[in-house]
Symmetry: C2
Subunit: 210 residues, 2 copies
């Protein structure tokens, strides 16, 4: 259809909201906030309005009516189309069924870890571990609160997923720190060597081929 279809999940959220009931962009944003969807789907006003326009151009949603309350700005109410419902189900299915290459900041950082000295790397990893612990505690607290309020598991499933990933990351980071510390990290000498050479402006052969 369009050029860069299915890039921004915010468009998927729009389809999901309009699947429930017709409404206008500002209200979509407010609803996303109330339901804590903005924790899992990046929300930005400018982007929201442009994403809505793009969905309209693609025939997945359409204007239902334009209402004006006094002299406030007009509210443009959209509704989902048949094609939009199909797109919603198909896109959502893809997101669930197909693991995708995602580029995270930490992964990028790890791939350049050799730029730092091992000691510096350890210091930074320890800070990460501490922050992950904070996150996990906060997350635990929220979970208890949510349980008290009788929130069902379906409503917390994204958060359950993210917390599980963070817990796994925490354990991995902790082990990595140990390995570098006690010298069992394989290739530690090469790492140090490479670093000394760079600092001295010497040629270095970062033997990176697979």
């Amino acid at each position: 259809m369009s050029t860069r279809a299915r890039s921004n999940p915010l468009a998927l959220a729009v389809l999901a909201l309009l699947y429930e009931r017709p409404t206008h962009p500002y209200d979509m944003a407010a609803t996303m906030r109330e339901r804590h969807k903005e924790d899992s789907i990046k929300l930005n006003y400018g982007t929201l309005y442009s994403v809505v326009q793009s969905l309209e151009k693609r025939g997945l949603i359409q204007v239902k009516e334009v209402v004006r309350d006094g002299r406030r700005p007009e509210r443009t109410i959209y509704e989902i189309t048949g094609a939009g419902k199909l797109e919603l189900e198909d896109w959502l299915s893809e997101l669930i069924a197909a693991p995708a290459r995602e580029y995270t900041g930490f992964e990028a950082g790890l791939s350049l870890l050799g730029v730092l000295e091992p000691e510096e790397a350890v210091r930074l990893l320890e800070e990460r571990r501490a922050r992950l612990d904070e996150f996990l505690h906060a997350s635990e607290a929220m979970r208890e609160l949510a349980a008290k309020r009788g929130l069902t598991r379906l409503l917390l499933i994204e958060s359950e997923y993210v917390t599980m990933l963070r817990r796994a990351e925490r354990e991995w980071v902790a082990r990595l720190i140990e390995d570098i510390r006690d010298g069992s990290f394989e290739g530690l000498e090469t790492w140090r060597d490479w670093h000394r050479r760079i600092a001295a402006g010497l040629p270095h052969d970062p033997n990176h081929q697979l």
Copy 2:
């Protein structure tokens, strides 16, 4: 400094490459390929050149010389500046030390899981589990190959991280499937109910408040 500084990690990779030696953008791309950096840092030609320009504007890198080989296009050789070295270390440190909110497609999908029927959700999750298994096998094979070639752990650390995350995800997805299947998933009836109402066009109260 600039408006949207530290957004694209590709800029970090550029700084890291110029930290090793002066070179031109096209060669940076080639080097990133050779070293499998493009697996962890998204590489795109257009973006690369615009990112380089932005780094130059910010004074983090500068043109060293412009050479021409016969009648080929000119190659613009860049080198890193003092400010650039500081930025490299600071940015990299931040990526390692501070866990950041990352928005993944799967998380977005999970947060809208209620749009699907439980049975459909299970089918899709099973497909995901199968694909994760494939990924993990391929990853295992690569790991053995890399070991044979004597690659050091530092060079594979990003891949080790990603594989560990995928393994954790696989186990979580498997448990989730079980819970929905055997009915122990809390709130399954509410889920089904909500769905019936939507399908019938009835009012539904998606009680999402925290």
